[in-house]
């Protein structure tokens, strides 16, 4: 156990965690030169395409220092705020953390969020300043920033370039020297925490564990403490992005994959404790809070016959994404679909894209909504996840909406604009700290609804990409809110309803219909688009009817070609949703939340 080091790599998005993981794997000789690719811990296609990590990944490595062999168990974590749950899980099975900070960017909002998580877990934190190869790198300034904003000693921060490999050897030595070996009792009853689980097409449902006490051996009868189920361990493996290695035992202090021949990942709960069936441990390790959905949106198959296919697809996707929650819902406009809970907008995008790509579905997503707490005149309190289900105003005593504590770090140049942005979004300033003379940290209390959709993009464009942002839930507050409906060709389209502050309803209504007008292609008929609150129409636009759609020449030789052209146009229309006689494109459903 003395020779084991368990650690996570944590940082703000894009500060180079996955690239550093590549270098460490390479330095440990764990993949051949031929197998080496960029960001190899990002094994999902969508991670590679977008160049971001979505799911934490573990790897077991061997390293020799001063003639002594060591086992390094590394966990690469995502940086995006939507996936901070992955960071929490990873830290709970680590003994230390490498805090990566981009030498050109400095401390960012998720740097702080993630380092606080590591501190809560009492982990040894090694500050690492990355990308020192960049011309704009300012390692001294960044080291100062780490000290002033986080309050940890950065005098022996490591200076590296994950891209060129500078400083990697020294970093590995520091890991061995500074991260404590795991503590645990090898003789005590088995006690291991499941910190990840997924469905493998060949192995079935599997759990990734960190063993604290005792060991897990092949053939052992183990108990899952949450539900009391007993299973036999069929196989054990050490994690690796390319080649997992089989083993017969995972000892105290180690990590490994446990295969029990289970079909249903539901019984392998992340956060659960595995123990010996005959000699159980007294107390579970302690569990994590399950990931909590922040925003909810309707997802509907465009082809109404695909509802059951979509249910299958969601069931399968959940096997690898335990943070996904959903229940069936119906919409007058869209038919049968699901209300799906997401960790944030990126998570929503990823889930929708995976459903469409991996399960060959065409989906319409409605504008995401938060959960409102509504007190009715009869004293009852209801939770409203779907704006169209908001009760009529005369039945409502009060509506409360979720707030978050938002942290923004920005260069002072953009401070004014960012404060204006936050104020327009109904934010209340809690704190303003100068990290140094050039950078400021802002803390705001702000309704979650205001930051759900385009806040991140606006913040980035307001600050030329320099400001960063993080948030955490901070409870509910009453608001003066109303339901804004959209009528297309006279009828309310339930899937387009949104909840807005009463004071903004007119302005939002106008912006919304003019956006919709641009997005709805001309059709055979003139289409009226209206915004209304209750029975009052507050804005109206008209999409003019189409003037011409016909090909000039059609003779005996090209009838087949003309038919195929028509079928292609038809397929294009099928990607839109027919609401009565009107075809609405996907973007129309999301556009309701766009402010300008």
């Amino acid at each position: 156990m003395q020779n084991i080091r368990n650690f996570s790599i944590i940082a703000h998005i894009d500060h180079g965690k996955s690239t550093l993981a590549d270098r460490i794997i390479q330095e440990c000789g764990s993949v051949s030169a031929r197998e080496m690719t960029a960001q190899m811990m990002d094994t999902m296609e969508i991670e590679q395409e977008r160049g971001i990590t979505i799911k934490a990944q573990s790897v077991r490595l061997s390293y020799v220092k001063d003639g002594q062999p060591y086992i390094l168990n590394l966990i690469d974590t995502p940086g995006h705020v939507d996936f901070s749950y992955e960071v929490s899980k990873s830290l709970a099975s680590s003994d230390g953390a490498l805090l990566i900070v981009d030498a050109a960017q400095g401390v960012e909002a998720q740097t702080l969020a993630n380092v606080y998580l590591a501190m809560e877990n009492n982990l040894e934190i090694i500050p690492v300043i990355n990308k020192i190869d960049l011309p704009a790198a300012e390692p001294e300034r960044v080291a100062e920033e780490i000290e002033s904003s986080i309050g940890i000693d950065a005098t022996d921060a490591l200076l590296i370039s994950a891209k060129t490999g500078i400083g990697i050897r020294a970093l590995l030595d520091a890991i061995v020297e500074r991260i404590p070996a795991p503590v645990g009792d090898p003789e005590a009853p088995t006690k291991a925490i499941i910190y990840d689980s997924w469905f493998d097409p060949y192995l079935g449902a599997v759990g990734l564990v960190r063993v604290f006490d005792g060991a897990i051996s092949k053939g052992q009868q183990v108990k899952l403490m949450a539900n009391g189920e007993v299973h036999q361990v069929l196989d054990l493996m050490y994690p690796h992005p390319l080649h997992r290695q089989k083993t017969t035992i995972i000892n105290s202090g180690e990590i490994g994959i446990v295969i029990m021949g289970l079909k249903d990942v539901g019984s392998i709960k992340v956060g659960d404790t595995i123990t010996d069936a005959k000699r159980p441990t007294a107390e579970p390790v302690g569990s994590y809070e399950p990931a909590k959905a922040f925003v909810f949106a309707g997802l509907y198959p465009i082809d109404t016959d695909k509802f059951e296919d979509m249910r299958d697809a969601l069931d399968k996707l959940r096997l690898n994404d335990s943070s996904l929650s959903y229940e069936p819902e119906t919409s007058i406009a869209l038919g049968f679909g699901f209300r799906v809970g997401f960790l944030g907008m990126l998570h929503m995008e990823v889930v929708k894209e995976r459903l469409e790509r991996e399960y060959d579905l065409d989906l319409i997503a409605t504008a995401p909504s938060v959960v409102y707490h509504v007190t009715l005149t009869n004293g009852e309190e209801v939770k409203v996840q779907n704006p169209s289900e908001m009760p009529e105003p005369n039945y409502i005593t009060k509506i409360e909406e979720p707030y978050v504590k938002a942290t923004v770090i920005t260069p002072t140049d953009y401070l004014g604009n960012i404060i204006t942005l936050l104020t327009n979004k109904r934010g209340m300033q809690l704190k303003m700290d100068y990290l140094n003379e050039k950078r400021v940290l802002l803390e705001y209390s702000i309704p979650l609804n205001e930051i759900v959709v385009d806040f991140y993009d606006t913040l980035k464009s307001t600050s030329k990409g320099y400001a960063s942002f993080d948030y955490e839930a901070s409870g509910y507050q009453e608001g003066d809110l109303v339901k804004l409906d959209v009528r297309v060709a006279g009828d309310i389209v339930d899937a387009l309803s949104i909840i807005v502050p009463r004071s903004q309803s007119e302005q939002r209504g106008r912006a919304l219909v003019s956006n919709m007008k641009e997005l709805i292609p001309r059709q055979l008929f003139e289409v009226a688009v209206q915004a209304s609150v209750g029975n009052k129409i507050i804005a109206r636009e008209t999409v003019k009817s189409m003037g011409k759609n016909v090909t000039a020449k059609c003779y005996g030789g090209d009838i087949t070609r003309k038919r195929k052209l028509l079928e292609k146009q038809k397929a294009g229309k099928k990607r839109m949703k027919a609401i009565g006689k009107v075809n609405l494109p996907q973007e129309a459903f999301l556009s309701v939340l766009k402010m300008d």
Binding site: L524, G556, Q569
Partner: protein
């Protein structure tokens, strides 16, 4: 049944044109004209066609007037027994090669209708379209056809180009109606792949207002619109396509449809000459044929049998919005300009 003969030769290639035609294969003409006879005899035999079955013959291209009339003699000889006694026999021709001699000889062979590719009377536009003739050639060719005894004369115009102005189109119409024509085709420029214009698709520029004015101007000369691009005394051949009549295609790249099979020959001239009997068949499903009937019917005065449309509420919606009407169980588009969009709506 309709009969189509394709002549894949042209003197030059126009900027917009994607038709199967070649400018450097004139030396293959004689050989080609014997092979079409082979194909015709074979097809007639294979399909067991009775005499006088064809109510129309259309010789299209390419440019039929690039081939000497003498080379058509053998073809007419074998085809004649299969033509109805009152068959409409059209040939396309280009103004620079439709000489009085050629037209007179074709008339003798039986041609009774001419479709002349004028495109425009504006010299600048003709050059820009890369046409091989000037505007006076159009006048000369039409008069020549008339003197040769061909009294059913049509000319083609192209509109919807970057060069168009209301004045230009107006002049084109005025010039056209000075001539003794009985029919006019006006095609909106379509950008086709693998044509010079494909590199600059913005040259196709149509204004709905100009189009409507053009239609009105043609109508004012007493030529009724019976299809999106056709006006005047209808071409029985083209109307036959829109009515979904079966047709036989002879020549390189000529297409035919007999019942549920669309038939294709080799498009390459040499390949066709080597094997004029070669054929690929496309099977049309009942749904393919249904869509085609809707597509073709809506773009012309043919209309669509309402029994072909399953969702009658859609018909009602169209009528309510004033976009279509029904007469004797046939649905007609009020304006052919929306034919494809209405077909999509009904699908």
């Amino acid at each position: 049944m309709l009969l189509y003969l394709h002549i894949p030769f042209c003197d030059s290639k126009c900027s917009y044109c994607a038709f199967n035609s070649y400018t450097h294969l004139h030396h293959r003409r004689a050989r080609y004209m014997t092979q079409i006879v082979e194909q015709f005899l074979h097809d007639v035999e294979e399909l067991q066609l009775p005499k006088a079955i064809f109510r129309t013959l259309f010789i299209g291209g390419g440019t039929p007037s690039t081939v000497d009339a003498a080379l058509y003699e053998r073809f007419f000889e074998v085809v004649r027994p299969y033509l109805a006694h009152d068959a409409e026999i059209t040939t396309e021709a280009n103004p620079n090669s439709a000489t009085l001699t050629w037209l007179a000889q074709m008339r003798v062979l039986g041609v009774n209708r001419l479709s002349l590719g004028a495109q425009s009377f504006d010299e600048g536009k003709l050059t820009w379209l890369h046409r091989a003739h000037a505007s006076h050639h159009i006048d000369e060719a039409v008069h020549a056809a008339y003197s040769a005894g061909i009294r059913n004369i049509s000319i083609d115009l192209i509109y919807g180009t970057a060069l168009d102005t209301p004045a230009l189109l107006e002049r084109d119409i005025e010039r056209a109606f000075v001539l003794p024509i009985s029919h006019l085709s006006a095609y909106a420029l379509t950008i086709e792949e693998h044509t010079p214009f494909a590199a600059t698709p913005q040259v196709a520029r149509e204004s709905l207002e100009m189009t409507q004015k053009l239609f009105e101007a043609i109508d004012a000369h007493g030529f009724a619109q019976y299809e999106i691009s056709n006006f005047g005394t209808p071409s029985r051949h083209n109307l036959g396509y829109w009515e979904y009549a079966p047709y036989l295609g002879i020549g390189a790249g000529a297409v035919g449809r007999i019942a549920e099979h669309r038939r294709y020959t080799h498009t390459d001239v040499d390949a066709y000459i080597a094997d004029p009997l070669y054929r690929t068949l496309e099977h049309l499903s009942p749904s393919d044929m249904r869509i085609e009937k809707i597509l073709l019917g809506l773009r012309s005065r043919v209309g669509v049998d309402t029994a072909l449309i399953s969702d009658t509420s859609r018909i009602d919606a169209l009528i309510e919005e004033g976009l279509a009407f029904v007469e004797n169980n046939r649905l007609y588009a009020k304006s052919y300009l929306l034919a494809d969009e209405i077909a999509l709506f009904l699908e």
